[in-house]
Amino acid sequence: MSGTQAAPHSLAFRVMRLCKPTFHVETPLRFDPFDLLTGEDLLNDPVAAQHLPRLLGSQSINSKSTESDLTYRSRFLLQDPYDAVGLSGLLVLPQSFGAIYLGETFCSYVSINNSSNFEARDIVIKAEIQTERQRILLLDTSKTPVESIRAGGRYDFIVEHDVKELGPHTLVCTALYSDADVERKYLPQFFKFIVANPLSVRTKVRVVKETTFLEACLENHTKSNLYMDQVEFEPAQHWSATLLKADDHHSGNDALTREIFKTPPILIRSGGGIHNYLYQLKTSALESAQMKVEGSNILGKLQITWRTNLGEPGRLQTQQILGSPITRKEIELQAVEVPSVIILEKPFTVHLNLTNQTDRMLGPFEVWLSQSDSHDEKVVMVNGLQTIVLPHVEAFSSTDFQLNFIAMKLGVQKISGITVFDTKEKKIHDPLPDLEVCYLYLGGLVSTLNIFVDSD
């Protein structure tokens, strides 16, 4: 009490977080009489084997009825063998507030106690959650105030709130009431907690021929093991998704075990455990290269539902997951044929194909090998005309041409810098700089061409 003019409150809020209870687990100190009252091998003796089962059997817990038993034998003797697991099914209330994570439900028991000697009347109770961004009303009895809480009495309620924001939250409980004093009193109480992020999701997208593979790695940042109840990929329009799973090896001996242990549960360990999911995505529409939309490529999102003790659920979904950006290329340049044997300092010819992927005529073109400004020796030199001129190419058609080179260095080499210049539009068609890979003999963008140069 600070000694100001404010009179002491008759009422006080008591709050207890009401997440699901847990099972009590404890290795018990309970034994079988045969393991304590005799030597472990005494029953080898035929005399002992004849008499001891009856004698020691009378000591067991089952021989006495529970109602008349006034001993604490159940703290000392095992009733059935599996009592030794120490999991009787007794539930325990949450013993501390614990951690709370985005996607969970905050549930709390709130009790307003009248610890004074006077009745409290006309109590208007409000409970709300305050975050950095908003206030959410959970309970408001303004329209129907609680008539009275007697001296020593209580008024209880339970509030629930789906946690959708990170960071500090405050449960604000207020009561406006009248007691023995003249003026109405106002009691605010604040209970703070912080909401953290339970999971992080890292994705990788790879395209192999017509199929896109999405790998999602889920990491558990919470203090509990998370049972992944459902992790589903919801594909965007025109996409379909299949979860790829490894084969399960069931070593179930009998039907019961096989039935119960059908699918091993996915449990991600607390504090940094991970689990990977692999999805195979296909575009459902009959699309050719022309249909691809320029810009980002939205694949879809992951819906995640996890559970902790006694099935306490949490739910999150990721943001849109993007595939590789697709830029529509107006020109496709491919190596159609490269000689299998290339000899140092001897000329060789590479057959190339230029495809116009637009719906208008393009060209004419000039093609040359741009010189790198690095200090490295040139790998190849163009043999003959340094610039090749190509005529127009119609919409959606292609033209073949050749480039003649002389190899300057031995071994596996890259030819880079083949440049195509549109003389009409005055535009250099530069293949994407970040594509390093080049498939020999296959299509695909070529700014680098891998060849093997041998000596004589």
């Binding site: 009252l37 008499h51 529970t66 697991v85 539930l91």
Partner: protein, 389 residues
């Protein structure tokens, strides 16, 4: 060292062979003598097994562990134990008492002070032929091996305990694989011990939330339980269901509990089994947040067995989730008063004290009242810190 005289060095070890033992009035019987003579039963009472064993057992069932410490000390000081195995029996009770009273360092010290390890021939019946004519094998009570494995964890060395339990499991299994010289009853006992050790291992992994390995161990036990009674199978499957629920696999738990109901129709039933099934049903209601139906199931259990502590405790929790804190407190208080020997356990006290802390601004008074009552009624090993005063 194989000579029995090696035992002299240990104060609590069996004494060297005494040519004129003051032991029981009749000489150790032979198989031939008793097989046809029902009046000469050498094991008519517990006291025939060990000196004043009835009294020790009685004290243990009443939870009077401090009295057991006194009794053991007196027997040792006054040299009341005459046969080698009696020292081991008294040692076992002594260690259990120390462990129950949470005097773990004392228990470890006593166990460590044994001169020989538990496999020594000093603890073989055949090393003392005039005490135990025609009896061979180990006189070590199995709990000594179990305690030897359990105690390091109590002092914080969990890894050592796990290692020792897995070693103990290996020991039990090698006894079973080489069982040609064991009687049928002995083999059954060793199989029970195998299950006992696996159960203890499961409880350790469970305490550390290592659920995947618990599932694997339980699956192993299910495979071994082919010949068990329906009641035992149901108990085991219930543990599986609880583990599944504990980490959140609700579908798995439902499937497991259905399998149990299938067993019940096979078995004879009985109150124990019926209550187990009802309590499992109640748990499914709880996870589905249908607390009203859960309370109803628990009431049926309590009707059948007024001392069903799990049903009483869990019913009280359901009442709390139904916003009825007052009644949840009443349920627990009434049960403690009515059937204390069934319901006075640390978990119920922890739950009741959590409820008091929520219900009363000044909860120390009511907790102190509870604490005083507990100190009058509870067994010696009751952990008073559960009231959190």
């Amino acid at each position: 060292m194989d000579a029995p005289n090696a035992l002299e060095h240990h104060p609590h070890a069996p004494p060297p062979t005494d040519p004129d033992p003051p032991g029981p009035p009749s000489p150790p019987p032979t198989a031939a003598a008793t097989a046809t003579d029902p009046l000469n039963n050498p094991y008519a009472s517990l006291n025939d097994l060990s000196h004043e064993l009835s009294s020790l057992q009685e004290l243990a069932t009443r939870g009077s562990w401090r009295s057991i410490l006194d009794k053991v000390a007196r027997a040792r000081t006054n040299h009341l134990l005459t046969k080698p195995h009696e020292h081991l029996t008294y040692l076992s009770f002594h260690l259990i008492a120390l462990t129950k009273l949470r005097r773990f360092a004392d228990a470890v010290a006593e166990l460590d002070s044994l001169d020989s390890d538990l496999d020594s021939s000093n603890y073989h019946y055949q090393s003392y032929p005039h005490h135990y004519p025609n009896i061979t094998g180990s006189m070590v009570p199995f709990v000594l091996r179990w305690l030897h494995a359990e105690l390091p964890a109590k002092l914080g060395n969990r890894q050592e305990t796990l290692d020792r339990f897995y070693t103990l499991l290996h020991f039990v299994r090698s006894k079973l694989s080489d069982s040609s010289n064991l009687s049928h009853f002995c083999v059954e006992l060793w199989k029970k011990r195998e299950v006992f050790v696996i159960n203890t291992i499961i409880s350790h992994h469970l305490s550390h939330k290592e659920f995947v390995i618990c599932l694997a161990l339980i699956k192993d036990l299910i495979g071994k339980s082919e010949g068990s009674s329906s009641e035992d199978k149901a108990a085991l499957l219930s543990k599986l269901g609880y583990v599944q629920m504990q980490f959140g696999d609700l579908e798995g738990a439902k499937a497991t509990f259905s399998a149990i109901e299938g067993l019940v129709s096979e078995g004879k039933g009985g109150v124990e089994m019926e209550n187990l099934v009802s309590r499992n049903k109640a748990l499914l209601y709880i996870v589905g947040r249908d607390y009203v139906s859960a309370v109803r199931e628990y009431d049926v259990c309590i009707e059948r067995d007024g001392g069903d502590a799990v049903a009483i405790n869990n019913k009280a929790l359901c009442l709390m989730y139904l916003r009825d804190l007052s009644d949840s407190i009443k349920v627990l208080e009434n049960a403690l008063e009515r059937v204390p020997t069934a319901t006075l356990n640390e978990t119920i006290v922890v739950n009741l004290c959590s409820m008091y802390e929520l219900a009363y601004v000044n909860h120390s008074d009511i907790k102190r009242t509870l604490s005083n009552w507990i100190s009058r009624v509870a067994p010696d090993d009751f952990d008073a810190s559960s009231t959190r005063i």
